[in-house]
Symmetry: C2
Subunit: 133 residues, 2 copies
Amino acid sequence: MKKYSKQRELILNSLRKRKDHPTAERLYLDLKNEMPELGIATVYRNLSDLCEEGQVIRIKTSSGPDRFDGNTMPHIHFECKKCGDIVDIVLFENEVKQLDNDLKKFAKQISAEVDGSDITITGLCKKCKKKLR
Amino acid sequence: MKKYSKQRELILNSLRKRKDHPTAERLYLDLKNEMPELGIATVYRNLSDLCEEGQVIRIKTSSGPDRFDGNTMPHIHFECKKCGDIVDIVLFENEVKQLDNDLKKFAKQISAEVDGSDITITGLCKKCKKKLR
DNA sequence: ATAGTATTTGATAATGATTATCATTATAAT
DNA sequence: ATTATAATGATAATCATTATCAAATACTAT
């Protein structure tokens, strides 16, 4: 049976508040200020659990450790190839619907049952675009 | 200056021929039959190089090591949550175009310059769907 | 072909991220 | 309050990948 823990609550709340996508270690370092007795294993453990429950999203990056996202609204990600930054792109309901429809249609090809998707756009973010000129 | 090596050629050709998406280790073990002197570092090294050149695609999986894909035609992936299998979903030209358009439109929100995308559909594959009943 | 050089290889050590272990502590049920 | 169960934190262990480096190989200019 699942038990409450203030560590898990802290991790989830903090992730919901922030709009970046920290690594487990980044989150650990930041939270250690609020709760000095926090251990890094606890952070990894709870992040994994929260991901399984669907309360947190694990983002695989092209290089470097996983990032975590407390935003569970339907959205997609942009990853900058230059600076590695990951940004949310929020979709309108009709966009989500259209995208879901398309993906389901594609999945018919292989007779699979779709239950989710993971879309990442790559390129240059606003900042890095400017720096290049 | 880039030099030819029979190891790299073997790796690339083998990846082009197979339609699965092997891990570096799987590929290494398989190729070791054809070329017993092959070293695993050579496989990792060449796979990374080929990915940078755009001749091979690195697929991040939700758990487990990276998979590699020699198919550079525009396509998306399906990952089965049950068995972990990854399958290609090939798109028609018009589907690719529509998808690209949509993604570019989304990216405008954050003023980013798009140069690629990575789409994975998750769910149950044909086989696992059957097993469940 | 030959010598010279630059790159690649294979073996293995090192690293980085994540998970496993386990004694202690906190939460929940009786 | 007692007991049972799950979570924690410290740290060891694991897994995938990258770095190192001497030896082998590919290319270039003679």
